[in-house]
Structures are given as structure tokens and as C-alpha cells.
Amino acid sequence: MSSPDTEIKEIVQKEITLNMGPQHPSTHGVLRLVLDLQGETVVGCDPRPGYLHRGIEKWMEHRTYHQIIPMTDRLEYISCFNNNLGYVVAVEKLGGIEVPPRAQFIRTILAELGRLSAHLVWLGTHALDIGAMTVCMYTLREREQVLDLFEIVTGARQTVSFARIGGVRNDLPRDFIDKCREFIDQFPKRLEEYDTLIRENRIWLKRTRGIGVFTAEEAVNYGLTGGTLRGSGVNYDLRKVEPYAAYDKVEFDVPLGTHGDVYDRYLVRIEEMRQSRRIIQQCLDMIPPGPVTTPDPRYGVPEKATVMQNMEALAHQFVLMSKWVPMPKGEAYVATEGPKGELGFFVVSDGGGRPYRIKIRAPSFVNLSAIPKMVTGGMLADVVACIGTIDIVLGECDR
């Protein structure tokens, strides 16, 4: 016998829609996710990027090839040099421009320092999102050292604009190699320090294992690249697939995951940092002497010291920077391995001094498209882990 008071009625379960972002501490910028929730379970997710869309591709059509370099800094603003590099490599492919070996090595060193800088920020913020606060304090300390190294070479810490079509802006300063060695000598110990904080941490394992799983086949079909793809065990690293800069002259391994979850992607990126250090070390040992820009006067920017003393060099630089460089008609798609994944530039030239069209294939944008699949069916708290694991930077995603 049951009285009407104790009778259990069916609980009406109502879906609610929750806006996560664009102002949210764990969305790494101005990302907005529209989540459909059934209690704590995510049943639908619709990412809404675009809050940082500045129309960079449109602007690029109105700038000369050299004037575009500073705009690329504003794409993936954690490791600006990698964007500079992606762009100039594409233009060099389009124009068939040779780059002297010393410049190639300088590019490789800076690109790997950029990768370290990006991965350190990723590790710190990813751990912070999941609740491990200490790691962030440590990683930002090392990142500061990386930025100091950038400052020695380029004069800027973040927006470096250092690559030039056909080379780099200037040679390495005298004290750079020693300071860089000093940094990479102490780096493995530091890396070990934060790895021990979380690698076997029970909370970390519970929050990351089996979360955001992607099989290898799915990951490729979703267009994932970078550490996000390699966590699923697909051996696709553009430094190996289509080597640029000096990557064909150095030895390094491509770490791969097996389970394709958040934890494996963490292991992959940690190992990538060790490999980056290895690449920098080899480059410092092997870097040859010689010029740092192409001797071809149509593209090579004269050295700053000459520009200050020589009238012709000054005029030459002025024309190259403000007017145009002769680019043949044609088109090229060149992809480089950015810290987040495949950073591709598709450049179309009509033979004029400005690119006819540039399309930036931003890894963050494509990786973000995988978020609905990663989070649907999981818990609300895991959304944060999934955003961290694709290592998104909105400047690049929205362009």
C-alpha cells in the first residue's frame, strides 16, 4: 500500500543549453561552445569560433609579400616565429628561392624554441584547467627563458617578425649560442620536474585516461594534425614528411601514442619537447658559417649594417620592403609542422607584387572541429580537458 505522498513520480529530465565562453578561463581565449546538457552529461556541442576574426587573409591580399610577415605573428601568438617560417617557406616554394644553409639552421633553432615555448604554455594551462596548479608556475618560468633567447636574437619576445623571404633578418648575436646551450643543458632536468608532478598523479590519470578518444582512422578523417593526431598513433609529422629548413639534416624521433586519449597526447607532447631539445642541440653543433639571406638581389634583403652605410643598399631595401618582389605566376600549397599541427599556406600569385590570394590552413581551426565528437557523451568537466588537449590558440583558429 503506498500513500500518494511517497509515490515516486517519473522525474522529468530537461535538456539545458549552456554557453561556455567566449569569456571563460578554460577556453584559452575567446572560444565559445554551445553545450546541450542532460544533467552533467554532454549530449550535444556546437563550437562557435570567430570572435577573433580579423580578416587577415583579406588584408594579406592588399600587402606586399614582405609586409605580410608581421601579420603572420598574429596568428599563433604563442610561438610567432613558426608562423613566420610557414609563410616564408610557402613563398620561397612559389618563387623557387634558395635559402643559404646558415639561415636554414637559424630557422630550425628558432622554430624549435618556438615549439618549446608553445608546448610549455600548453602544459601549464592544460594542467591548470584540470586542477594541477603548480605545473603552470614552473612551465612559465622556463618559457620566460625561451622568450629571453628570442629577445637576444630578434629584439622582440613575442611578435618577432624575424624570418625574411630568402633567409632571416640577421645573424645570431655572439652570445646567443652559449646562452642557448646553457638553457638546453638545464632543460631536461626541469622537464623531469614537472613530468613527475603529473605523470603518475592519480587525479591526473583519472581525468585524462580514456577521455576524448580518437582512433587513428577517425583522427585522419577529421583532419587532425600535430600532437593531437600523433596521440592516436598516426605517424604524420611534416618535419619528416616534407622536410623544410634543416630538418633533413638532424636526427629526431616522432613520438606516437597508442590509445588516442588525452593522456597519450600529453605523453606525446612531453616527448616532443625532449626531441625539440635534441634538434636544437644538433643545430648548435652543426651550424655552418655563411650568409643568412639569399644572395639573389631580387629577393635577398641587404644586411642592416650595409643598409646604414651604403646608399644603394638602403634604396634596395626600400624597394624590396615597400614596393614589391617579383613573384612568378602560379600557386603553391606548403605545410609546415607548427606546434599545434599542420600550418599550411596556399599562396596564389598573379605575377604582381602582392599575393592574389592566401589561404591559411590553421591547425587550431581544424582540430576544433573534432571537439563535438570528443565531448559528446562525456561529462561537462571533461570538456575542459578536451579543449586543453587539442591545444587551441584562437588567434590562429579565427584568423
Binding site: G50, V220, G223, V234, E342, D350, R357, K359, F365, D398
Partner: protein, 156 residues
């Protein structure tokens, strides 16, 4: 496989679809009619010798301001690579201004979904059969497609 050989394979398989091939800087592009783009893409993806499983990029170019160009106004460009064989190919499809439509390739590559949304948003190309063709970077009520050449740099 060599990009030229891939282009030849496409031509042998779809002789009435290929309008021409062009190469620049060692990269090969195959110009297709727009009728059977999806079939060509499915062939490239499924053929065991090719296995183009990674659609790296999909975009469009507005050729209305290109000196000497007389073809239809827009060109949809597909850049793809095989993660196993590491060979690339580029497909190109021209679509006219008064009917800027081409079939979606989302059944072959899921990643095409967002690339196509972006191309629709910024260039105004409509992808037939796309499951969710909305604007992606610009607000829903935005008027116009900014990457078209007549769109002013500083907006209307």
C-alpha cells in the same frame, strides 16, 4: 607516387571529367568539371594505390580580378595528401558566379565540413548536400562574403 602519375590515374578513370592539369613549383593541380567531384574524391580516397586519407585544405579563389583569366569566376581548391604514401595532389573546380554550387565532399572526409562552411562564409560558395552549411567565422546575420574581390577592404 609521383604527382604526375596520380593526375594520369585520375584522367584514365574519369576521362570526361578532367579539363586539364597544371603544375608549378613541383606541385600538380588537376582541373575538373564540377559534375562528379564527389566521385573523384571518393576514388582518390578509396583506391589502394592512392589512399588520399588526409584532406589538408579546402578553399576557394575568386578569379574575377585576375588579369587574363576568362574562366568561370570561382575556383574551389582541394589540397590532399596520403599519410601512408606521402604523396600530394591538388584538385580544382571552377564554378560560375550566377550558380556558385559544387557537391560537398563531407561523405569522404569529415574534416571537409568545416572547411566548406568557412568557404561558404567568406567566399559564398554553396556546397550541395552539406549537412550543416552555416556561417562559421562571421556572425549569422552578416551580409556579403568578404573574400570576394569586390568586397571593400574596410567593409561596407
Amino acid at each position: 607516387m609521383d604527382a604526375d602519375q596520380i593526375a594520369k590515374m585520375i584522367e584514365e578513370k574519369f576521362p570526361d571529367q578532367v579539363l586539364g592539369t597544371m603544375s608549378h613549383a613541383g606541385q600538380v593541380g588537376v582541373m575538373l568539371k564540377r559534375d562528379r567531384v564527389l566521385d573523384v574524391c571518393r576514388f582518390l580516397h578509396d583506391e589502394p594505390l592512392l589512399r588520399m586519407d588526409h584532406l589538408a585544405d579546402l578553399t576557394a579563389v575568386d578569379y574575377s580580378a585576375y588579369a587574363g583569366d576568362t574562366g568561370p569566376r570561382f575556383e574551389v581548391v582541394y589540397n590532399m595528401i596520403s599519410t601512408a604514401f606521402r604523396h600530394r595532389i591538388r584538385l580544382k573546380v571552377r564554378v560560375p558566379e550566377d550558380d556558385p554550387r559544387v557537391d560537398t565532399v563531407t561523405p569522404v572526409w569529415h574534416t571537409a565540413g568545416w572547411h566548406e562552411r568557412e568557404t561558404y562564409d567568406l567566399m559564398g560558395i554553396i556546397f550541395n548536400g552539406h549537412p550543416d552549411l552555416r556561417r562559421i567565422l562571421l556572425p549569422e546575420d552578416w551580409v556579403g562574403h568578404p573574400l570576394r574581390k569586390e568586397y571593400p577592404l574596410k567593409g561596407y
